[in-house]
């Protein structure tokens, strides 16, 4: 939503890497830990998100499920996704709070063509800077989690900010603050990983042998992590990607294609210049004109 001057940048879209801030202690990496096993699906996080970010999500329709709104929108940075998981005689209601994962290697930032429209702070938060956003939708193509949404009103991309404006003043994100069961924790990434370890141990003792932490290495880890009872099958949770990574197509498009293309164009230009200088122009000779005139005369006669 905005550039927070008091947060230093690690990365800036379509820009050279910013130099590390001078004379400052290294930033502490933050993370939000969502413990899916403790979520009761109350949507207090959704309400808190709308309130803190002053978002106006118009009343829509219900599709008959608890998914409401049915998808992320430019005004809904987070939604609860409800999955009914039946296996044998057992039934589980899996509720996942969906939203930006704040990847350490953000596909949106990599894909963005507008300088400074997407930034990553040194604490790991990935933020969209609306002033610089041109609404091209490349971030949507770069994201492995299907998160950014383009507003039809102002043609700019929106997503969870991890409440960067709260974090900068030492507050937890609004969703974590509002959660009544403390299913959402916020702290340093190291603390959150350690805490997740205890929760996973507890879940395993209760019969969830495959409980684990979702911190996918394919995107360099994330600054929003999940504790899952079925960490061996993340896709159970409303299609959470099993092994997310930036699409290789985006890698080609935003990687080698850029320098190779400019080099090819430059080469073509230089080749033309060298050719003109060494071989010279191709001119019609007087002899050609005479031959042409002779033919005209012959045909005209």
């Amino acid at each position: 939503m905005s550039v927070l001057q008091s947060l230093d940048l690690r990365r800036r879209s379509a820009s050279p890497e910013p130099p590390p801030p001078a004379g400052k202690a290294p930033a502490v990496e933050v993370a939000k830990l969502i413990d899916v096993s403790k979520c009761i699906g109350c949507k207090a996080c959704q309400a808190a998100c709308l309130e803190w970010n002053q978002l106006d999500q118009p009343i829509g329709y219900t599709d008959g499920t608890y998914n409401n709104p049915t998808d992320l929108t430019p005004a809904s940075f987070t939604v609860m996704r409800f999955t009914e998981y039946e296996h044998g005689d057992d039934f589980e209601w899996l509720i996942r709070k969906d939203g930006c994962m704040h990847c350490a290697d953000p596909g949106c930032l990599k894909a963005c063509p507008a300088p400074g429209a997407i930034v990553q702070y040194t604490n790991g938060i990935v933020d969209f800077v609306s002033d610089n956003c041109i609404g091209c939708g490349y971030c949507v193509k770069g994201c492995p989690f299907n998160i950014p949404r383009i507003s039809k009103t102002d043609s700019k991309a929106y997503k969870c900010t991890l409440c960067s404006d709260r974090v900068v003043v030492g507050q937890a994100p609004a969703c974590a603050k509002a959660c009544p069961t403390q299913a959402i924790y916020f702290g340093t990434k190291a603390d959150m990983t350690a805490h997740a370890g205890k929760r996973i141990e507890d879940l395993k003792s209760r019969g969830f042998q495959n409980a684990g932490l979702y911190d996918p290495p394919g995107v360099g880890g994330t600054h929003v992590m999940y504790v899952l009872h079925h960490a061996d099958r993340p896709s159970l949770y409303a299609g959470l990607p099993d092994n997310p990574r930036i699409s290789p197509l985006v890698g080609v498009w935003k990687g080698m294609l850029k320098p190779i293309s400019l080099a090819a164009i430059a080469f073509a230009g230089v080749f033309g210049l060298v050719h003109y200088v060494t071989r010279g122009p191709n001119r019609v000779t007087e002899h050609d004109e005479e031959e042409a005139a002779a033919l005209e005369k012959q045909k005209g006669a």
């Binding site: 063509p113 609404g135 939708g137 490349y138 985006v250 293309s261 050609d288 031959e291 042409a292 045909k299």
Partner: protein, 209 residues
């Protein structure tokens, strides 16, 4: 004392207007497209009134190009079918580049290089138009999957670079081969030019009343 041949008509006024609409829209598309392709060139968005306007205008200029190029295609495709002399011409491309055209077969209205430019741009503009629609999120965001959009982005970029390279060849050829440009400005070429470069075509044209 040189005997001057009469100018030979090469393009009608309508064809030239059609060409220049295509040319201007292609240049604008290249500038706005490159602005969104490489961060070094993002400054080109200033020519179009900023990033948002560049993003908004680019696809509409693409529609103009697609319609305009279709006009050129319909005008000229029958003149661009590959002939046996085109293969001979291509085999002697080295001589052509060295300004030694003597001894090459007589050519119709277009030589093999021009035909390759024609077919190359025809295929690339078709691919650019189709992939461009997939990327035109303002109207077609819901029509395709995100993986299709990613593929379209790569195809669009590759084809655009191909089209720009062909454009460079096309423009350079007009600079290199003197007497060519007036075909697209005034619509005619000198008899000598027609004799030298497109003798078979010239023989047909001279025969006409």
């Amino acid at each position: 004392m040189t005997v001057e041949a009469k100018p030979v008509s090469r393009y009608t006024t309508a064809a030239r207007i059609n060409h220049w609409i295509t040319a201007i829209s292609l240049i604008l598309l290249a500038l706005s497209g490159l602005a969104l392709f490489h961060p070094w060139l993002f400054g080109l968005t200033a020519l179009f009134g900023g990033g948002q306007l560049t993003r908004m205008l680019h696809p509409w200029i693409g529609v103009v190009l697609a319609v305009s190029f279709l006009g050129l295609f319909l005008r000229f495709f029958t003149l661009n079918f590959w002939k046996r002399e085109d293969t001979v011409w291509m085999k002697n491309l080295g001589s052509v580049i060295n300004n030694k055209e003597e001894g090459l077969p007589e050519l119709g209205k277009y030589n093999a290089g021009q035909k390759l430019v024609f077919w190359g741009q025809s295929i690339l503009i078709l691919l650019l138009f189709c992939s461009g629609l997939v990327l035109w999120d303002t109207y077609f965001a819901d029509a395709t999957s995100v993986d299709q959009k990613r593929l379209a982005a790569v195809v669009h970029a590759l084809c655009a670079i191909g089209a720009i390279l062909i454009w460079i060849v096309h423009v350079y050829a007009a600079i290199w081969v003197k007497g060519t440009l007036r075909a697209m400005t005034r619509g005619s070429v000198t008899g000598g030019w027609a004799w030298k470069h497109h003798r078979k075509w010239f023989r047909q044209e001279v025969g006409k009343p």
